[in-house]
Protein backbone atom coordinates (compact mmCIF):
# COMPACT_ATOMS: atom_id res chain seq x y z
CA UNK A 1 0.00 0.00 0.00
CA UNK A 2 1.19 3.45 -0.81
CA UNK A 3 1.37 5.88 2.08
CA UNK A 4 1.20 8.93 -0.18
CA UNK A 5 -0.78 11.76 1.38
CA UNK A 6 -3.66 13.16 -0.61
CA UNK A 7 -3.27 16.91 -0.46
CA UNK A 8 -6.14 19.27 -1.08
CA UNK A 9 -6.39 21.13 -4.35
CA UNK A 10 -4.67 24.29 -3.11
CA UNK A 11 -1.85 22.52 -1.31
CA UNK A 12 -1.18 20.15 -4.22
CA UNK A 13 -1.06 23.07 -6.62
CA UNK A 14 1.30 25.02 -4.32
CA UNK A 15 3.57 22.02 -3.78
CA UNK A 16 3.77 21.36 -7.53
CA UNK A 17 4.62 24.96 -8.29
CA UNK A 18 7.17 25.09 -5.50
CA UNK A 19 8.84 21.97 -6.90
CA UNK A 20 8.99 23.71 -10.24
CA UNK A 21 10.82 26.62 -8.62
CA UNK A 22 7.97 29.12 -8.61
CA UNK A 23 7.29 31.50 -5.71
CA UNK A 24 3.63 31.75 -4.74
CA UNK A 25 1.59 34.91 -4.91
CA UNK A 26 -1.83 35.16 -3.23
CA UNK A 27 -3.62 38.51 -3.50
CA UNK A 28 -6.47 39.27 -1.08
CA UNK A 29 -9.63 40.88 -2.42
CA UNK A 30 -12.58 41.99 -0.32
CA UNK A 31 -15.63 40.13 -1.60
CA UNK A 32 -18.70 42.23 -2.26
CA UNK A 33 -16.76 45.41 -2.85
CA UNK A 34 -18.09 46.97 -6.08
CA UNK A 35 -15.88 45.66 -8.91
CA UNK A 36 -14.32 42.86 -6.89
CA UNK A 37 -14.93 40.11 -9.45
CA UNK A 38 -13.19 42.04 -12.24
CA UNK A 39 -10.32 42.80 -9.89
CA UNK A 40 -10.05 39.12 -9.02
CA UNK A 41 -9.92 38.11 -12.69
CA UNK A 42 -7.31 40.79 -13.35
CA UNK A 43 -5.20 39.46 -10.49
CA UNK A 44 -5.42 35.93 -11.86
CA UNK A 45 -4.51 37.11 -15.35
CA UNK A 46 -1.51 38.95 -13.90
CA UNK A 47 -0.08 35.81 -12.36
CA UNK A 48 -1.75 35.12 -9.00
CA UNK A 49 -1.40 31.52 -7.87
CA UNK A 50 -4.55 31.63 -5.74
CA UNK A 51 -6.93 34.30 -4.48
CA UNK A 52 -8.02 34.98 -0.94
CA UNK A 53 -11.57 36.33 -0.96
CA UNK A 54 -12.36 38.36 2.14
CA UNK A 55 -15.84 37.92 3.54
CA UNK A 56 -16.54 41.24 5.26
CA UNK A 57 -17.36 41.16 8.97
CA UNK A 58 -18.72 43.90 11.21
CA UNK A 59 -15.84 43.60 13.71
CA UNK A 60 -12.60 42.73 11.90
CA UNK A 61 -10.08 42.81 14.77
CA UNK A 62 -7.12 41.59 12.70
CA UNK A 63 -7.57 44.27 10.03
CA UNK A 64 -6.14 47.76 9.75
CA UNK A 65 -7.82 50.84 8.23
CA UNK A 66 -7.72 49.89 4.51
CA UNK A 67 -9.37 46.49 4.83
CA UNK A 68 -11.73 47.83 7.51
CA UNK A 69 -12.85 50.50 5.09
CA UNK A 70 -13.25 48.00 2.24
CA UNK A 71 -15.26 45.68 4.50
CA UNK A 72 -17.54 48.49 5.55
CA UNK A 73 -18.08 49.59 1.93
CA UNK A 74 -18.92 46.02 0.95
CA UNK A 75 -21.36 45.65 3.84
CA UNK A 76 -22.93 49.00 2.99
CA UNK A 77 -23.33 47.76 -0.59
CA UNK A 78 -25.38 44.86 0.81
CA UNK A 79 -22.77 42.09 0.63
CA UNK A 80 -23.45 38.96 2.70
CA UNK A 81 -21.53 35.69 2.92
CA UNK A 82 -24.25 34.10 0.79
CA UNK A 83 -24.18 36.77 -1.92
CA UNK A 84 -20.38 36.63 -2.13
CA UNK A 85 -20.32 32.84 -2.40
CA UNK A 86 -23.01 33.02 -5.10
CA UNK A 87 -20.84 35.41 -7.08
CA UNK A 88 -17.74 33.30 -6.46
CA UNK A 89 -19.48 30.27 -7.96
CA UNK A 90 -19.77 32.12 -11.28
CA UNK A 91 -16.16 33.36 -11.39
CA UNK A 92 -14.74 30.64 -13.62
CA UNK A 93 -11.04 31.17 -12.87
CA UNK A 94 -8.45 28.40 -12.96
CA UNK A 95 -6.60 29.04 -9.70
CA UNK A 96 -7.62 27.78 -6.25
CA UNK A 97 -9.84 30.14 -4.24
CA UNK A 98 -9.81 30.58 -0.47
CA UNK A 99 -12.02 32.65 1.80
CA UNK A 100 -10.79 34.76 4.70
CA UNK A 101 -13.57 35.14 7.21
CA UNK A 102 -13.96 35.80 10.92
CA UNK A 103 -15.16 32.92 13.03
CA UNK A 104 -18.63 34.24 13.82
CA UNK A 105 -19.50 33.97 10.12
CA UNK A 106 -18.68 30.26 10.30
CA UNK A 107 -20.20 29.73 13.73
CA UNK A 108 -23.44 31.43 12.80
CA UNK A 109 -23.89 29.45 9.59
CA UNK A 110 -22.93 26.21 11.35
CA UNK A 111 -19.64 24.40 10.74
CA UNK A 112 -20.88 21.70 8.37
CA UNK A 113 -23.25 23.98 6.54
CA UNK A 114 -20.55 26.59 5.99
CA UNK A 115 -18.09 23.97 4.71
CA UNK A 116 -20.69 22.72 2.25
CA UNK A 117 -21.48 26.28 1.13
CA UNK A 118 -17.79 26.75 0.34
CA UNK A 119 -17.64 23.53 -1.65
CA UNK A 120 -20.76 24.47 -3.59
CA UNK A 121 -19.16 27.81 -4.45
CA UNK A 122 -15.98 26.19 -5.73
CA UNK A 123 -13.90 27.45 -2.80
CA UNK A 124 -11.25 25.03 -1.65
CA UNK A 125 -9.78 26.65 1.47
CA UNK A 126 -10.62 28.84 4.47
CA UNK A 127 -8.55 31.19 6.62
CA UNK A 128 -10.14 32.12 9.96
CA UNK A 129 -7.86 34.62 11.71
CA UNK A 130 -9.62 34.65 15.08
CA UNK A 131 -9.71 30.88 15.42
CA UNK A 132 -6.50 29.76 17.15
CA UNK A 133 -5.30 26.18 17.28
CA UNK A 134 -7.00 25.32 20.59
CA UNK A 135 -10.45 26.40 19.36
CA UNK A 136 -10.13 25.06 15.81
CA UNK A 137 -11.28 21.47 16.43
CA UNK A 138 -14.99 21.61 15.53
CA UNK A 139 -14.43 23.69 12.38
CA UNK A 140 -11.45 21.64 11.19
CA UNK A 141 -13.42 18.44 11.62
CA UNK A 142 -16.24 19.79 9.46
CA UNK A 143 -13.81 21.26 6.93
CA UNK A 144 -11.86 17.99 6.67
CA UNK A 145 -15.08 16.07 6.11
CA UNK A 146 -15.94 18.35 3.17
CA UNK A 147 -12.36 18.48 1.82
CA UNK A 148 -12.04 22.16 2.61
CA UNK A 149 -8.43 23.05 3.44
CA UNK A 150 -8.01 25.08 6.65
CA UNK A 151 -5.06 27.42 6.47
CA UNK A 152 -3.58 27.98 9.92
CA UNK A 153 -1.92 31.20 10.97
CA UNK A 154 1.39 31.17 12.83
CA UNK A 155 2.38 34.27 14.80
CA UNK A 156 5.75 35.75 15.67
CA UNK A 157 4.84 35.43 19.36
CA UNK A 158 4.50 31.64 19.18
CA UNK A 159 7.05 29.71 21.23
CA UNK A 160 9.06 27.05 19.39
CA UNK A 161 6.97 24.15 20.65
CA UNK A 162 3.77 25.68 19.27
CA UNK A 163 4.85 25.98 15.63
CA UNK A 164 5.00 22.25 14.78
CA UNK A 165 1.51 21.80 16.26
CA UNK A 166 0.13 24.67 14.18
CA UNK A 167 1.82 23.31 11.05
CA UNK A 168 0.51 19.81 11.68
CA UNK A 169 -3.04 21.17 11.55
CA UNK A 170 -2.43 23.41 8.51
CA UNK A 171 -3.84 22.48 5.10
CA UNK A 172 -3.19 24.42 1.90
CA UNK A 173 -0.42 26.52 3.37
CA UNK A 174 0.83 27.98 6.65
CA UNK A 175 0.09 31.68 6.93
CA UNK A 176 3.19 33.18 8.51
CA UNK A 177 2.06 36.44 10.14
CA UNK A 178 4.66 39.01 9.16
CA UNK A 179 4.57 41.27 12.18
CA UNK A 180 2.99 42.08 15.50
CA UNK A 181 -0.02 44.00 14.34
CA UNK A 182 -2.99 44.14 12.03
CA UNK A 183 -3.17 44.13 8.24
CA UNK A 184 -1.89 47.25 6.50
CA UNK A 185 1.01 48.66 4.54
CA UNK A 186 4.32 49.45 6.25
CA UNK A 187 7.37 51.26 4.95
CA UNK A 188 9.64 48.27 5.50
CA UNK A 189 9.30 44.53 5.90
CA UNK A 190 9.51 43.74 9.61
CA UNK A 191 12.44 41.64 10.73
CA UNK A 192 9.89 39.27 12.29
CA UNK A 193 8.60 38.39 8.81
CA UNK A 194 11.63 36.50 7.59
CA UNK A 195 12.53 35.30 11.09
CA UNK A 196 9.20 33.52 11.55
CA UNK A 197 9.17 32.16 7.99
CA UNK A 198 12.61 30.68 8.65
CA UNK A 199 11.43 29.08 11.89
CA UNK A 200 8.43 27.60 10.09
CA UNK A 201 10.46 26.30 7.15
CA UNK A 202 12.63 24.47 9.66
CA UNK A 203 9.71 22.48 11.06
CA UNK A 204 7.32 21.88 8.14
CA UNK A 205 7.19 21.04 4.46
CA UNK A 206 3.73 22.59 4.10
CA UNK A 207 4.13 25.71 1.91
CA UNK A 208 4.87 28.78 4.05
CA UNK A 209 3.47 32.13 2.86
CA UNK A 210 4.13 35.43 4.57
CA UNK A 211 1.21 37.82 4.97
CA UNK A 212 0.31 40.93 7.01
CA UNK A 213 2.68 43.82 6.40
CA UNK A 214 4.09 42.69 3.04
CA UNK A 215 3.39 45.99 1.36
CA UNK A 216 4.99 46.17 -2.08
CA UNK A 217 6.90 44.27 -4.75
CA UNK A 218 10.26 44.90 -3.10
CA UNK A 219 9.08 43.60 0.28
CA UNK A 220 7.52 40.57 -1.43
CA UNK A 221 10.83 39.82 -3.11
CA UNK A 222 12.56 40.10 0.26
CA UNK A 223 10.05 37.78 1.93
CA UNK A 224 10.34 35.02 -0.68
CA UNK A 225 14.09 34.80 -0.10
CA UNK A 226 12.98 32.69 2.86
CA UNK A 227 9.31 31.88 2.37
CA UNK A 228 7.54 29.93 -0.38
CA UNK A 229 5.35 32.90 -1.20
CA UNK A 230 3.42 35.92 -0.04
CA UNK A 231 -0.13 37.04 0.64
CA UNK A 232 -0.80 40.65 -0.41
CA UNK A 233 -3.75 42.24 1.33
CA UNK A 234 -3.99 45.94 2.05
CA UNK A 235 -1.73 46.92 -0.86
CA UNK A 236 -4.09 45.15 -3.29
CA UNK A 237 -7.30 46.39 -1.68
CA UNK A 238 -6.05 49.97 -1.62
CA UNK A 239 -5.45 49.79 -5.38
CA UNK A 240 -8.90 48.33 -5.91
CA UNK A 241 -10.41 51.19 -3.91
CA UNK A 242 -8.36 53.84 -5.68
CA UNK A 243 -7.95 52.55 -9.23
CA UNK A 244 -10.23 49.56 -9.79
CA UNK A 245 -9.44 46.25 -11.53
CA UNK A 246 -6.78 47.66 -13.87
CA UNK A 247 -4.76 49.01 -10.97
CA UNK A 248 -4.98 45.63 -9.23
CA UNK A 249 -3.82 43.83 -12.38
CA UNK A 250 -0.86 46.15 -12.86
CA UNK A 251 0.19 45.81 -9.24
CA UNK A 252 -0.06 42.02 -9.18
CA UNK A 253 2.00 41.85 -12.37
CA UNK A 254 4.64 44.05 -10.75
CA UNK A 255 4.84 41.82 -7.66
CA UNK A 256 4.89 38.73 -9.89
CA UNK A 257 7.86 40.06 -11.79
CA UNK A 258 9.67 40.96 -8.57
CA UNK A 259 9.32 37.53 -6.99
CA UNK A 260 10.07 35.73 -10.26
CA UNK A 261 13.19 37.80 -10.82
Amino acid sequence: MSTAVAYGRMEQSFRDKRSAGRKLLVPYITGGLPGWEDALRAAVAAGADAIEIGIPFSDPVMDGPVIQQASQLALDAGATPVSILDQARALDVDVPLAVMCYYNTVHHAGHHRFAEQLVAAGICAAIVPDLPLEESGPWCEAADASDVETVMLAAPTAPDDRLPRVCARARGFVYSVGLLGVTGERSALAATATALARRLKAVTDVPVLVGVGVSNAEQAREAVQVADGVVQGASVVRRLLEGGADAVGEYVAEVRAAIDG
Binding site: V61, A109, P132, E134, L180, V182
Partner: protein, 385 residues
Protein backbone atom coordinates in the same frame (compact mmCIF):
# COMPACT_ATOMS: atom_id res chain seq x y z
CA UNK B 1 -20.96 21.56 40.16
CA UNK B 2 -20.16 24.65 42.22
CA UNK B 3 -21.46 27.76 40.51
CA UNK B 4 -19.15 30.69 39.88
CA UNK B 5 -16.02 28.67 40.55
CA UNK B 6 -13.13 28.40 38.13
CA UNK B 7 -14.02 27.83 34.46
CA UNK B 8 -12.86 24.68 32.67
CA UNK B 9 -9.31 24.31 31.37
CA UNK B 10 -10.42 25.84 28.05
CA UNK B 11 -12.05 28.77 29.85
CA UNK B 12 -15.59 27.47 29.47
CA UNK B 13 -18.66 28.15 31.62
CA UNK B 14 -20.81 25.37 30.24
CA UNK B 15 -20.72 25.96 26.48
CA UNK B 16 -19.80 29.64 26.83
CA UNK B 17 -16.46 31.42 27.03
CA UNK B 18 -13.27 30.11 25.43
CA UNK B 19 -10.38 31.93 23.84
CA UNK B 20 -11.18 33.02 20.28
CA UNK B 21 -8.25 35.32 19.58
CA UNK B 22 -5.71 35.66 16.75
CA UNK B 23 -2.69 33.37 17.15
CA UNK B 24 -0.58 36.42 18.01
CA UNK B 25 -2.48 36.85 21.28
CA UNK B 26 -2.62 33.23 22.40
CA UNK B 27 0.73 33.26 24.24
CA UNK B 28 -0.24 36.54 25.97
CA UNK B 29 -3.55 35.07 27.17
CA UNK B 30 -1.75 31.96 28.40
CA UNK B 31 0.84 34.06 30.19
CA UNK B 32 -1.87 36.20 31.78
CA UNK B 33 -3.80 33.15 32.93
CA UNK B 34 -0.71 31.70 34.53
CA UNK B 35 0.26 35.00 36.16
CA UNK B 36 -3.24 35.56 37.55
CA UNK B 37 -3.53 32.01 38.84
CA UNK B 38 -0.21 32.31 40.60
CA UNK B 39 -0.87 35.81 42.01
CA UNK B 40 -4.37 34.97 43.20
CA UNK B 41 -2.98 32.03 45.17
CA UNK B 42 -0.21 34.18 46.65
CA UNK B 43 -1.09 35.63 50.07
CA UNK B 44 1.27 38.56 49.57
CA UNK B 45 -0.48 39.59 46.33
CA UNK B 46 -3.86 39.27 48.05
CA UNK B 47 -2.65 41.38 50.95
CA UNK B 48 -1.31 44.05 48.62
CA UNK B 49 -4.59 44.06 46.68
CA UNK B 50 -6.72 44.27 49.82
CA UNK B 51 -4.59 47.07 51.21
CA UNK B 52 -4.92 49.16 48.09
CA UNK B 53 -8.69 48.56 47.95
CA UNK B 54 -8.94 49.78 51.53
CA UNK B 55 -6.45 52.65 51.55
CA UNK B 56 -6.94 53.97 48.03
CA UNK B 57 -10.35 52.92 46.72
CA UNK B 58 -12.04 53.36 50.10
CA UNK B 59 -13.38 49.85 50.64
CA UNK B 60 -15.44 48.42 52.11
CA UNK B 61 -18.28 50.30 50.46
CA UNK B 62 -21.31 50.69 52.72
CA UNK B 63 -24.85 49.49 52.22
CA UNK B 64 -27.71 51.98 52.46
CA UNK B 65 -31.35 51.13 53.08
CA UNK B 66 -33.70 53.28 50.99
CA UNK B 67 -36.46 53.88 53.56
CA UNK B 68 -38.45 56.38 51.50
CA UNK B 69 -38.38 54.55 48.19
CA UNK B 70 -38.76 51.21 49.92
CA UNK B 71 -41.93 52.40 51.66
CA UNK B 72 -43.27 53.75 48.39
CA UNK B 73 -42.63 50.45 46.57
CA UNK B 74 -43.63 48.12 49.41
CA UNK B 75 -40.24 46.43 49.59
CA UNK B 76 -37.09 46.70 51.67
CA UNK B 77 -34.61 48.22 49.22
CA UNK B 78 -30.92 48.10 50.08
CA UNK B 79 -28.18 49.60 47.92
CA UNK B 80 -24.60 48.38 47.77
CA UNK B 81 -22.80 51.68 47.42
CA UNK B 82 -20.12 51.08 44.78
CA UNK B 83 -20.81 54.67 43.70
CA UNK B 84 -18.86 55.79 46.76
CA UNK B 85 -15.61 54.16 45.66
CA UNK B 86 -12.77 56.36 44.47
CA UNK B 87 -13.47 57.31 40.81
CA UNK B 88 -17.18 56.80 41.37
CA UNK B 89 -17.90 53.25 40.33
CA UNK B 90 -17.14 49.59 40.90
CA UNK B 91 -14.66 49.62 37.99
CA UNK B 92 -11.76 50.55 40.29
CA UNK B 93 -11.80 47.07 41.93
CA UNK B 94 -10.89 45.33 38.69
CA UNK B 95 -8.49 47.99 37.50
CA UNK B 96 -6.43 47.99 40.70
CA UNK B 97 -6.22 44.19 40.50
CA UNK B 98 -5.19 44.16 36.85
CA UNK B 99 -2.63 46.95 37.14
CA UNK B 100 -1.01 45.27 40.16
CA UNK B 101 -0.86 42.14 38.05
CA UNK B 102 0.50 44.01 35.02
CA UNK B 103 3.34 45.41 37.13
CA UNK B 104 4.04 41.97 38.53
CA UNK B 105 4.28 40.73 34.92
CA UNK B 106 6.75 43.49 34.07
CA UNK B 107 4.44 45.37 31.69
CA UNK B 108 5.08 49.09 31.25
CA UNK B 109 1.91 50.10 29.45
CA UNK B 110 -1.80 49.37 29.58
CA UNK B 111 -4.55 49.86 27.03
CA UNK B 112 -8.23 49.96 27.90
CA UNK B 113 -11.59 50.37 26.19
CA UNK B 114 -14.33 52.44 27.69
CA UNK B 115 -17.99 53.12 27.06
CA UNK B 116 -19.35 55.63 29.55
CA UNK B 117 -15.80 56.44 30.56
CA UNK B 118 -15.94 54.89 34.03
CA UNK B 119 -13.53 52.08 33.20
CA UNK B 120 -11.36 54.53 31.28
CA UNK B 121 -11.20 56.90 34.24
CA UNK B 122 -10.47 54.03 36.61
CA UNK B 123 -7.71 52.74 34.29
CA UNK B 124 -6.19 56.22 33.93
CA UNK B 125 -6.31 56.59 37.71
CA UNK B 126 -4.60 53.29 38.42
CA UNK B 127 -2.01 53.96 35.71
CA UNK B 128 -1.17 57.30 37.31
CA UNK B 129 -0.88 55.65 40.72
CA UNK B 130 1.30 52.78 39.51
CA UNK B 131 3.45 54.69 37.03
CA UNK B 132 2.17 52.92 33.93
CA UNK B 133 1.63 54.45 30.51
CA UNK B 134 -2.05 54.30 29.56
CA UNK B 135 -4.04 54.66 26.36
CA UNK B 136 -7.83 54.53 26.40
CA UNK B 137 -9.97 53.79 23.33
CA UNK B 138 -13.44 55.29 23.36
CA UNK B 139 -16.07 55.34 20.62
CA UNK B 140 -16.41 58.77 19.00
CA UNK B 141 -20.13 58.86 19.89
CA UNK B 142 -19.27 58.26 23.54
CA UNK B 143 -16.46 60.82 23.49
CA UNK B 144 -19.17 63.35 22.67
CA UNK B 145 -21.74 62.28 25.22
CA UNK B 146 -19.19 61.80 28.01
CA UNK B 147 -16.92 64.80 27.43
CA UNK B 148 -16.27 65.28 31.13
CA UNK B 149 -14.83 61.80 31.56
CA UNK B 150 -12.61 62.32 28.51
CA UNK B 151 -11.18 65.40 30.17
CA UNK B 152 -10.72 63.49 33.43
CA UNK B 153 -8.69 60.79 31.71
CA UNK B 154 -6.46 63.36 30.05
CA UNK B 155 -6.06 65.17 33.35
CA UNK B 156 -4.86 61.89 34.84
CA UNK B 157 -2.15 61.67 32.19
CA UNK B 158 -3.72 59.16 29.82
CA UNK B 159 -4.07 59.38 26.08
CA UNK B 160 -7.66 59.05 24.82
CA UNK B 161 -8.33 58.03 21.24
CA UNK B 162 -11.76 58.55 19.70
CA UNK B 163 -12.65 55.46 17.66
CA UNK B 164 -14.34 56.33 14.38
CA UNK B 165 -14.93 52.81 13.03
CA UNK B 166 -18.18 50.82 13.02
CA UNK B 167 -20.89 52.05 15.35
CA UNK B 168 -18.35 54.34 17.11
CA UNK B 169 -19.36 53.01 20.53
CA UNK B 170 -18.12 50.48 23.09
CA UNK B 171 -17.82 47.44 20.80
CA UNK B 172 -15.64 49.39 18.39
CA UNK B 173 -13.52 50.64 21.27
CA UNK B 174 -12.92 46.99 22.21
CA UNK B 175 -11.93 46.20 18.59
CA UNK B 176 -9.45 49.05 18.55
CA UNK B 177 -7.97 48.15 21.94
CA UNK B 178 -7.49 44.57 20.70
CA UNK B 179 -5.79 45.85 17.53
CA UNK B 180 -3.44 47.90 19.69
CA UNK B 181 -2.74 44.87 21.87
CA UNK B 182 -1.97 42.67 18.84
CA UNK B 183 0.75 45.17 17.87
CA UNK B 184 2.16 45.88 21.34
CA UNK B 185 1.58 42.64 23.22
CA UNK B 186 5.18 42.30 24.39
CA UNK B 187 5.17 45.50 26.46
CA UNK B 188 1.46 46.06 27.00
CA UNK B 189 -1.27 44.62 29.17
CA UNK B 190 -4.85 44.89 27.91
CA UNK B 191 -6.81 46.09 30.94
CA UNK B 192 -10.22 44.80 29.86
CA UNK B 193 -13.06 46.44 31.73
CA UNK B 194 -15.68 43.75 32.07
CA UNK B 195 -16.29 40.04 32.58
CA UNK B 196 -15.88 39.44 28.87
CA UNK B 197 -13.19 38.75 26.30
CA UNK B 198 -10.97 35.68 25.99
CA UNK B 199 -10.08 33.38 28.90
CA UNK B 200 -8.89 34.29 31.55
CA UNK B 201 -10.59 37.71 31.50
CA UNK B 202 -14.19 36.72 32.37
CA UNK B 203 -12.94 34.70 35.32
CA UNK B 204 -10.23 37.13 36.44
CA UNK B 205 -12.42 40.22 36.27
CA UNK B 206 -15.17 38.43 38.21
CA UNK B 207 -12.65 37.48 40.89
CA UNK B 208 -11.50 41.10 41.16
CA UNK B 209 -15.13 42.15 41.70
CA UNK B 210 -16.02 39.31 44.05
CA UNK B 211 -15.28 41.69 46.92
CA UNK B 212 -18.61 43.44 46.17
CA UNK B 213 -20.64 40.30 46.82
CA UNK B 214 -18.53 39.09 49.72
CA UNK B 215 -18.85 42.39 51.55
CA UNK B 216 -22.56 42.72 50.79
CA UNK B 217 -23.32 39.28 52.13
CA UNK B 218 -21.60 40.02 55.42
CA UNK B 219 -23.27 43.42 55.63
CA UNK B 220 -26.74 42.01 54.91
CA UNK B 221 -26.26 39.36 57.59
CA UNK B 222 -25.04 41.93 60.08
CA UNK B 223 -27.89 44.34 59.37
CA UNK B 224 -30.83 41.99 58.75
CA UNK B 225 -29.62 38.57 59.81
CA UNK B 226 -30.49 37.04 56.46
CA UNK B 227 -29.71 36.90 52.77
CA UNK B 228 -31.77 39.15 50.52
CA UNK B 229 -34.67 37.67 48.56
CA UNK B 230 -33.60 39.35 45.34
CA UNK B 231 -30.21 40.63 44.10
CA UNK B 232 -30.36 43.08 41.19
CA UNK B 233 -27.74 44.72 38.99
CA UNK B 234 -27.55 46.24 35.52
CA UNK B 235 -25.77 44.28 32.78
CA UNK B 236 -23.79 45.55 29.80
CA UNK B 237 -20.76 43.30 29.75
CA UNK B 238 -21.85 42.40 33.25
CA UNK B 239 -18.98 43.02 35.68
CA UNK B 240 -20.85 44.72 38.50
CA UNK B 241 -23.57 42.06 38.32
CA UNK B 242 -20.98 39.28 38.45
CA UNK B 243 -19.39 40.96 41.45
CA UNK B 244 -22.55 41.07 43.51
CA UNK B 245 -23.97 37.74 42.22
CA UNK B 246 -20.79 35.97 43.36
CA UNK B 247 -21.71 36.64 46.99
CA UNK B 248 -25.19 35.13 46.67
CA UNK B 249 -25.10 32.50 43.93
CA UNK B 250 -25.09 29.75 46.57
CA UNK B 251 -28.09 31.19 48.43
CA UNK B 252 -31.78 31.06 47.58
CA UNK B 253 -31.73 34.66 46.39
CA UNK B 254 -33.23 35.42 43.01
CA UNK B 255 -30.46 36.87 40.79
CA UNK B 256 -31.57 39.51 38.29
CA UNK B 257 -29.39 41.17 35.63
CA UNK B 258 -31.16 44.04 33.91
CA UNK B 259 -30.30 44.72 30.26
CA UNK B 260 -31.27 47.74 28.16
CA UNK B 261 -34.04 46.90 25.67
CA UNK B 262 -31.76 48.08 22.84
CA UNK B 263 -28.86 45.91 23.98
CA UNK B 264 -30.50 42.74 25.24
CA UNK B 265 -27.90 40.13 24.32
CA UNK B 266 -29.21 37.48 26.73
CA UNK B 267 -32.81 38.42 25.98
CA UNK B 268 -32.39 37.51 22.31
CA UNK B 269 -30.67 34.26 23.21
CA UNK B 270 -28.50 33.63 20.14
CA UNK B 271 -24.90 32.57 20.83
CA UNK B 272 -22.09 34.06 18.78
CA UNK B 273 -18.36 34.65 18.91
CA UNK B 274 -16.81 38.08 19.09
CA UNK B 275 -14.15 39.76 21.23
CA UNK B 276 -12.58 36.45 22.08
CA UNK B 277 -15.57 34.73 23.65
CA UNK B 278 -18.58 32.59 22.81
CA UNK B 279 -21.61 34.14 24.43
CA UNK B 280 -25.05 35.49 23.65
CA UNK B 281 -24.67 38.17 21.01
CA UNK B 282 -26.93 40.52 19.09
CA UNK B 283 -26.36 39.64 15.44
CA UNK B 284 -28.16 39.54 12.11
CA UNK B 285 -29.04 36.46 10.05
CA UNK B 286 -25.46 36.27 8.69
CA UNK B 287 -23.68 36.71 12.00
CA UNK B 288 -22.84 40.39 11.58
CA UNK B 289 -22.76 41.96 15.03
CA UNK B 290 -25.54 44.46 15.53
CA UNK B 291 -25.25 47.83 17.14
CA UNK B 292 -26.71 48.20 20.60
CA UNK B 293 -28.76 51.31 21.32
CA UNK B 294 -29.17 52.52 24.86
CA UNK B 295 -29.43 55.80 26.68
CA UNK B 296 -26.41 54.75 28.73
CA UNK B 297 -23.04 54.50 27.02
CA UNK B 298 -21.86 51.93 29.55
CA UNK B 299 -24.52 49.41 28.50
CA UNK B 300 -24.25 50.02 24.74
CA UNK B 301 -22.76 46.62 24.12
CA UNK B 302 -24.25 43.90 21.86
CA UNK B 303 -22.65 41.03 23.77
CA UNK B 304 -22.49 39.94 27.40
CA UNK B 305 -19.97 38.15 29.59
CA UNK B 306 -20.01 34.38 28.98
CA UNK B 307 -20.72 33.44 32.59
CA UNK B 308 -23.95 35.46 32.41
CA UNK B 309 -24.93 33.43 29.35
CA UNK B 310 -24.24 30.32 31.35
CA UNK B 311 -26.23 31.43 34.41
CA UNK B 312 -29.11 32.33 32.07
CA UNK B 313 -28.93 29.03 30.20
CA UNK B 314 -29.22 26.99 33.40
CA UNK B 315 -31.91 29.27 34.82
CA UNK B 316 -29.91 30.45 37.83
CA UNK B 317 -30.16 34.11 36.89
CA UNK B 318 -32.74 36.02 34.87
CA UNK B 319 -32.13 38.89 32.44
CA UNK B 320 -35.14 41.14 31.87
CA UNK B 321 -34.89 44.32 29.77
CA UNK B 322 -36.08 47.87 30.44
CA UNK B 323 -36.69 50.75 28.04
CA UNK B 324 -34.92 54.10 27.97
CA UNK B 325 -38.15 55.79 29.15
CA UNK B 326 -38.30 53.53 32.22
CA UNK B 327 -34.63 54.28 32.88
CA UNK B 328 -35.22 58.04 32.86
CA UNK B 329 -37.99 57.49 35.42
CA UNK B 330 -35.74 55.32 37.58
CA UNK B 331 -32.95 57.88 37.47
CA UNK B 332 -35.21 60.65 38.80
CA UNK B 333 -36.96 58.39 41.28
CA UNK B 334 -33.83 57.63 43.31
CA UNK B 335 -32.67 61.23 43.17
CA UNK B 336 -35.97 62.58 44.48
CA UNK B 337 -36.76 59.97 47.12
CA UNK B 338 -33.29 59.24 48.49
CA UNK B 339 -31.03 62.11 47.51
CA UNK B 340 -28.79 59.81 45.48
CA UNK B 341 -28.16 60.44 41.79
CA UNK B 342 -27.43 57.06 40.21
CA UNK B 343 -25.42 56.38 37.07
CA UNK B 344 -27.73 55.84 34.09
CA UNK B 345 -26.48 52.25 33.97
CA UNK B 346 -27.76 51.62 37.51
CA UNK B 347 -31.02 53.39 36.72
CA UNK B 348 -31.77 50.29 34.61
CA UNK B 349 -31.80 48.18 37.77
CA UNK B 350 -33.99 50.75 39.54
CA UNK B 351 -36.39 50.79 36.59
CA UNK B 352 -36.84 47.04 36.82
CA UNK B 353 -37.25 47.13 40.62
CA UNK B 354 -39.94 49.76 40.43
CA UNK B 355 -41.77 47.86 37.66
CA UNK B 356 -41.49 44.52 39.43
CA UNK B 357 -42.19 45.80 42.97
CA UNK B 358 -45.88 44.73 42.97
CA UNK B 359 -44.65 41.13 42.68
CA UNK B 360 -42.03 41.51 45.42
CA UNK B 361 -44.11 43.00 48.25
CA UNK B 362 -42.43 42.66 51.62
CA UNK B 363 -39.26 41.23 50.15
CA UNK B 364 -35.71 42.39 50.71
CA UNK B 365 -34.14 43.57 47.47
CA UNK B 366 -30.41 44.25 47.29
CA UNK B 367 -29.34 46.38 44.36
CA UNK B 368 -25.79 47.09 43.29
CA UNK B 369 -25.53 50.84 42.84
CA UNK B 370 -22.42 50.42 40.74
CA UNK B 371 -21.78 54.05 39.87
CA UNK B 372 -22.75 57.62 40.57
CA UNK B 373 -24.64 59.81 38.16
CA UNK B 374 -22.48 62.91 38.07
CA UNK B 375 -21.17 61.93 34.63
CA UNK B 376 -24.74 61.72 33.30
CA UNK B 377 -26.07 65.01 34.58
CA UNK B 378 -25.29 66.99 31.41
CA UNK B 379 -26.97 64.36 29.25
CA UNK B 380 -30.03 64.25 31.52
CA UNK B 381 -30.23 68.04 31.51
CA UNK B 382 -30.70 67.89 27.74
CA UNK B 383 -33.24 65.08 27.91
CA UNK B 384 -35.31 66.57 30.71
CA UNK B 385 -34.92 70.14 29.49
Amino acid sequence: MTLMAEPSATGRFGEFGGRFVPETLVPACQELEEAFREAWADPSFRAEYQAILRDYAGRPSIITECHNLGRQLGIRLVLKREDLNHTGSHKINNVLGQTLLAKRMGKKRIVAETGAGQHGVASATAAALMGLECKVYMGAVDVERQALNVFRMRLLGSEVEAVESGSRTLKDAVNEAMRDWVATVESTHYCLGSVMGPHPYPWMVREFHRVIGDEAREQMHAAYGADPDVVVACVGGGSNAMGIFSGFVDTDARLVGVEPAGGAAVGRGVPGVVHGMRSYLMQDEYGQVQEAHSISAGLDYPGVGPEHSYLASIGRAEYPAVTDAEVIEGFQLLARTEGIIPALECAHALAWISREAPNMQGQTVLMNLSGRGDKDVAQMMEILG
